[in-house]
Amino acid sequence: MRLVSAVLRSRAVAALASPHGVDRYLEQVNPLWAAHEVRGRVVEVRPETTGVHPVTTLTVQPTSTWRGHRAGQHVQVGVDLPGARRATRCFSLSSAASAPGERFTLTVRAHDDTDERTSLSRHLATRARPGDLLHLSQAGGDFTMHASPATPTPHPLLLVSGGSGITPVMSMLRTLLRDGYDGRANRPVTFLHYARSPQEQIYAEELAAVARFDNHVDVHLVHTARGGTRFSPAALARLVPGFRDTDTWVCGPTALVDAVAAAYDGSARLRVEHFKAPATAAGAGPAQGETSFTRSGLGATNTGETLLAQAEALGLRPETGCRMGICFTCTSRKTSGTVRDVVTGEESSRPDEDVRICVSAPVGDCSVDL
């Protein structure tokens, strides 16, 4: 197997498969064969919660090209949605750190469908079935736990999360426990999570079990709709005295992350990860929102003109050709927001899609990689 993949990745084979690349041939035989790309097959679907925004955990068998992940990292997941349109979104990995080629899990909360199109998260959470194919990236992100459980130190750890932000810290906790972390490590872990209600609490059983065992892990689940107190520095200080000097990871909605960051007052012990809420379409009407060009760091109030016109007004010189939507020279990656095709009037909100900026006008907030 190792030899086969070494051969498939060799320069000689690349030269033979030029210009399309080895993977364009392998995928014709078996979608789970790849020399460079990463793909995955859903092997198990487990509902975590029900309700309007159900949460589901998917177990994924990746191709042998998967290089593994460290606890806290995320992965880009591309899915062919109905209508043959592929959407791509980023999800945190929820299982313990994985080795190359090893299975992992994703825990996905269903967001609402937008502009008559299926949302990717809703599709994964409610319609994914074993056997489904996912297009993946390698794991990325540096919201990771660099303290190794193999070298225990007496320093305590603190994991704070809110809502769907629980997935990366759960991955950290699971990694610690899997790798033999227990009470003898003499390194207390505090796991603090905010959910709206017990019905929306994911991993409830597993967390209850973790809390029961003698492993020096303190689990605190706060249910805000049930009178649980929201985050405050005082409440945290009661749980973890001297929290500012404790290695802490926080992930969740912006409000929570901001509040925690304020409480830490610039302490280097705090690592944060924002969990991004899906962009919502602002709807038709007069132009509103911000247009931002992420690579150049420029941005301005949305004027309602095409992205090209707005970019040029800011002094950017994106590549263009026909300026009328036929040559695709100006195609750029829209990372978030909704755009309207000025010729057809069609709106599109898929994150990470290529748009022709000469005929696309933003509707509400919009970010483009320019």
């Binding site: 040559c327 010729v343 290529d354």
Partner: protein, 370 residues
Amino acid sequence: MTTSTSTSTSTRLTPDQLDALGAEMDAIRQRVLADLGEADADYIHGVVRLQRRLEVAGRALFYLPPAWPVAVAALSVSKILDNMEIGHNVMHGQYDWMGEPGLSSRMYEWDNVCPSEQWKYSHNYIHHTFTNVLGKDRDIGYGILRMDEDQPWHPYYLGNPVYALLLMVFFEWGVAMHDLEVENIVAGRRTLADNKALHAGIMRKVRRQALKDYLLFPALTGPLFPLTLAGNATANLVRNVWAFNIIFCGHFPAGVATFSEEECRDESRGHWYYRQLRGSANIDGGRLFHLMTGNLSFQVEHHLFPDLPARRYPEISGEVKEICERYGLPYNTGPLGKQLVSVARKICRLALPDRRRAQQPAAQAQPAAA
């Protein structure tokens, strides 16, 4: 009956008529765009599967010397599909809506010595934006041939038929060199330094193409090296001859109009459609024939809607024809034989000084390209 004069006058339609024509064309376009989905995805996936299979079969059959003609046929068809129904159309962005990297206009690279990046500039932008505008559209004669009466005659053009023959045999090389604008360098309008970056890109692609077809694959067949080499060269030649003929029949039969820069200054969307309609010609044929031409046998529809999946051209051609009838516009089409003869005639006729013009030298006040 189509006329044989090549220069058009847009006075045949009033501005209002042009606007109405534009609106009708836009309506067709939107209707197809709204209908894109599974069927289009299945189609292009099917063509890709067929192309990959033919390619692998062709390469494999070279190990069986008596099957040499079959191997060459399979490889030739594979290269034709790769360049025409897949490459040309994918690079027009026809399948960008699918969001599939393998079918994205930004990433696709074709089995041709011309790097896709450069081809997209000269073809998608220059040729499709300035279709048949003399002095702007460099596809008219590829800078080598005299293909229009408004290109002033020069004794150099006595070789027109010979140049055409050479261009046909070495078509992929001609297309690659096209971007270097050698004729403009000879004429002093472009410097060699302008070509440095282009040159490097072309050489990189040429090296890769030559390495695989003329060295690696032949070498892999061991003692059959010369046979395989000849087979690969033949497949490239077949593709060249086929592509050249289809493309020339789409642009240069009798009845196709050319335009002056003045006519097209600040043109309306309707006039743009009008120019596309008058600047191209179709070839009649069956389904297999259309597949092999990459549906460029529907060159008229392709020029009107370059970014719609080519498999849609047959279904909209009836409507386009009907619109032409209503507006009293010619819809240029004919069987392959007729269009070929017409093109060959033009190539030979334009090798000689124009008789009508020679008698009335005052008539050639038109600005024209070299």
